[in-house]
Amino acid sequence: MNVAAAKVLMSDHASLQGLLEGVDLRASYFELFGIEAGYDVDLNAIQGRYLDLQRVVHPDRFAGMGERGQRMAVQCAAFVNEAYDTLRSPLKRALYLLEYSGHPVDIETNTVMDAGFLMEQMSLREDLGDVRESSDSEAAVAEVVERAEALMSNMQQGFVSAWQEQTEGGYKKAADFARKMHFVEKLISEAEQLEEELLDD
């Protein structure tokens, strides 16, 4: 008996839907939020929808409705939160859109990247590793974050134009960009964690 050896995949849409025990919430996050399936999302608009939805499903609307009522509301509200979280995040939205359109991305196992991207990644990672030795650590880490965010924004643009091709080749390219976004996002979150640790010290 040992701590779980390998992780297969992260949380996904299907698993949460499975939790909803007979409540058939709208089939997709896009429908739930009443928007067209696509990468461009009006963040102000979905915020309004989000509050409307929470007013209906939040467990506080089921107080005193017993354990069963609470359970159902918790699951529905969690589903709405997950949908909102996905639609707001550039990376999660990209992955979800690909899955929704029948081109799921296998983030964990498919790790082949082009050489140019790998070089850029490595250089960023090296700089991140050197941050603590830098004379001004806080400025050094902020610079890494800035560069990674610029890279992220490039990847997003790449994703959008590949997606717009609406061809099998285009979807494949879009999936590649999404995988790259995943790596950059991971790097950004590590850099932010380090930034925080520097503040704490």
């Binding site: 701590v3 949380s11 409307d52 209906v56 699951q75 979280d85």
Partner: protein, 629 residues
């Protein structure tokens, strides 16, 4: 269980008003509040006192709480438990790490949760807290003249899962139905926001007796959305007393270790008195065991500055998490008695660049906010007026290979939330798997808090790597975690054994509940029957009203007839004097109406979708123009 869609602006009949209270279960002081004739007020005891000191005295003859108990603190420190909130959901090692002078004798350290040795035997922090809650419950029931439907109990936003669970267990021991655990800063924001019709970004700085919390919220038309929260569950006014006590000893040339528990208590009392007089005076006299001296504001400020620094660091971190700058904050609300210290107000104003709001009594604001939410949750007020969207304060994750923590749910994620993770087996034919659940921010597990260890049993034997075990973390609106697991390829639900790292087991709670019943057997039966009937009536009313409103639209003729029959059957069962029978029929009818409830939920969502959500992003600040549902 039926979705209650209340019409906006339409309150239930006055005779149906349910008694619900808000309880601020504080480290130093506790309060209970309720909404009466439209406004929230704290309830006084028979002697007119609103504040109940969070002190419990276990005497040979009886148990006392509040002022009476506190009077005995110096005389009988071993049996008088002060600031027990600091021990909730904590292990003995954590308590030692608080670094305080504690006169208590802790026993059974091996069990994770410490027990305190008293003349009435060993008492867990949960039991001590339950005494405080019982006392507040009695006060509320006497002054409101009836049994309480339930209570909203506040906890520091930064409380972890173990501390929240311990608080909920204490309520259970006190016989209180918890309508919701509410974060203290969110409660304060509710009291403030509803009072001032606030809009925009608010920071709530809450420095209590033993805990510090900071929350950054966005207020928009009755929705209180917590953007980030942070703090320190072991930092508060008590620490101010400790540093002043340290200074007194230094001046007097004495050693803490040489003092008796009685002297230690007296020392802390004089330190606290000095702190309080320095709120208005520039200097004050202190005396201890023959030594007499003077402490000035400047000396005091220098002593507490390092503690205030720690709070300001949390404020900056939370602003960062919310992706905001100090200048974005419209108002700072000050909560907790320790915000009376002038140096605290000065330093907060300096950081945010605004004078903090101190208009509402910082001691009462949390209880008032909790009472306002309790009123909504009890169904006395249309729920549309108020919606609280809170977050989890600390990340939740699992131990992976190499003693590292993998985060499954990140801090400041809006709750409720559910996330799943899949695992596979490591060896051929493996049928069990150990999972270690952690809470905290660092990568290395040692610095994070161990919440529980789970063993998943009943995995069907198969070759290594073939099993697909999906572990689902779910955090409810109280911020409490539950975990479930299924093997995906076979659909077998793996059973879970939970061993909370710092808490009471279900068995311990049941034992405590049983031994605490002083009622005679009949009393217990009568209470059970009463509770069963209340629940049955609630389901009956909900079903009837749902059938009236939506029966024609959402149900076939056949379904309507069937559910109407079920409702009648329930009404009939309610007349029975057999509580088990009433519970059984209630369960059956609730189950039969589940499909209807699900359809109503979807209908609610459909209505929300077709409502003109457009008005949310128009610059329109009027309050009462939300579309009718």
């Amino acid at each position: 269980m039926l979705l209650q869609i209340s019409e906006p602006g339409q309150s239930p009949d006055p005779h149906q008003r349910k008694l619900a209270v808000g309880i601020d279960l504080g480290t130093t002081n506790s309060l209970v509040a309720t909404v009466r004739s439209g406004s929230a007020e704290t309830l006084p005891d028979a002697g007119g006192e609103h504040i109940l000191p969070s002190v419990v005295h276990y005497g040979a003859e009886c148990t006392m709480t509040g002022v009476e108990a506190r009077r005995l603190a110096a005389e009988d420190p071993l049996n008088t438990i002060i600031s027990v909130k600091r021990f909730m959901g904590r292990g003995v090692d954590d308590i030692r790490a608080l670094g305080d002078v504690l006169p208590y004798r802790f026993t059974r350290a091996d069990q994770g949760m410490p027990f305190i040795e008293t003349v009435q035997g060993e008492k867990s922090p949960v039991q001590v807290s339950a005494e405080i809650l019982k006392s507040l419950r009695r006060r509320a029931e006497e002054s409101l003249g009836g049994d309480l439907l339930g209570a909203v109990i506040t906890v520091p936003a930064y409380f972890d899962d173990a501390q929240r669970q311990a608080t909920k267990d204490a309520a259970r021991l006190a016989g209180l139905e918890v309508l919701r655990l509410l974060n203290e800063p969110t409660a304060a924001a509710v009291a403030y926001g509803l009072d001032q019709q606030g809009e925009g970004i608010i920071a709530v700085y809450d420095l209590g007796g033993g805990t510090f919390d900071i929350s950054i919220l966005r207020l928009h038309r009755g929705v209180f959305e917590v953007l980030a929260t942070g703090g320190d569950t072991a930092l508060g006014g008590d620490d101010f007393d400790q540093v002043v006590a340290g200074w007194i000893l230094e001046q007097a040339g004495m050693e803490m270790s040489a003092l008796t528990p009685e002297q230690q208590r007296k020392l802390l009392d004089s330190a606290c008195a000095a702190k309080e007089s320095l709120t208005d005076a520039d200097s004050t006299e202190v005396s201890f065991e023959g030594w007499v001296g003077t402490i000035g504001r400047e000396t005091f400020d220098a002593l507490v500055d390092p503690l205030i620094d720690r709070t300001l660091k949390s404020v900056k971190k939370s602003l960062r998490d919310a992706k905001l700058k100090a200048a974005d904050v419209q108002e700072v609300v000050m909560v907790g008695g320790s915000t009376r210290v002038p140096r605290v107000r000065e330093r907060v104003a300096e950081l945010i660049g605004k004078q903090p709001m101190t208009g509402i009594d910082p001691d009462r604001v949390v209880a008032v906010g909790a009472a306002l939410q309790a009123d909504v949750l009890a169904g006395n007020k249309p729920a549309d007026d108020l919606l609280l969207l809170d977050v989890i304060p600390l990340s939740l994750g699992l131990e992976t290979m190499g003693g590292l923590m993998e985060k499954v749910i990140h801090r400041n994620t809006t709750i409720p939330v559910a996330r799943a993770q899949e695992f596979t087996t490591f060896k051929d034919g493996q049928t069990a798997m150990a999972i270690h659940v952690l809470q905290g921010e660092r990568e290395v597990i040692d610095v994070n808090r161990s919440l529980a260890r789970f063993v998943l049993n009943g995995i069907p034997p198969m070759p290594a790597g073939m099993a697909r075990i999906r572990v689902t973390f779910q955090v409810d609106a109280d911020g409490l975690l539950s975990v479930s697991a299924t093997e995906q390829s076979t659909g077998v639900a793996a059973s879970i054994e939970i061993k909370p790292s710092y808490g009471l087991s279900e068995g311990q709670i049941t034992d405590m509940l049983q031994s605490s019943y002083t009622h005679a057997q009949e009393d217990r039966e009568a209470r059970k029957l009463l509770e069963a009937r209340v629940e049955a009536e609630r389901i009956f009313e909900a079903l009837e009203s749902a059938l009236r409103k939506d029966g024609d639209i959402l149900l076939s003729k056949e379904e309507q007839v069937h559910l109407a029959g079920e409702a009648r059957r329930l009404a009939e069962a309610t007349k029975s004097t057999d509580s088990a029978f009433v519970v059984k029929v209630t369960e059956e009818v609730a189950k039969a109406s589940e499909v209807f409830a699900a359809r109503r939920m979807n209908e609610g969502i459909r209505a929300a979708l077709s409502g003109q959500a457009v008005e949310y992003f128009e610059p329109d600040n009027s309050q009462n123009d939300r579309p009718e549902e």
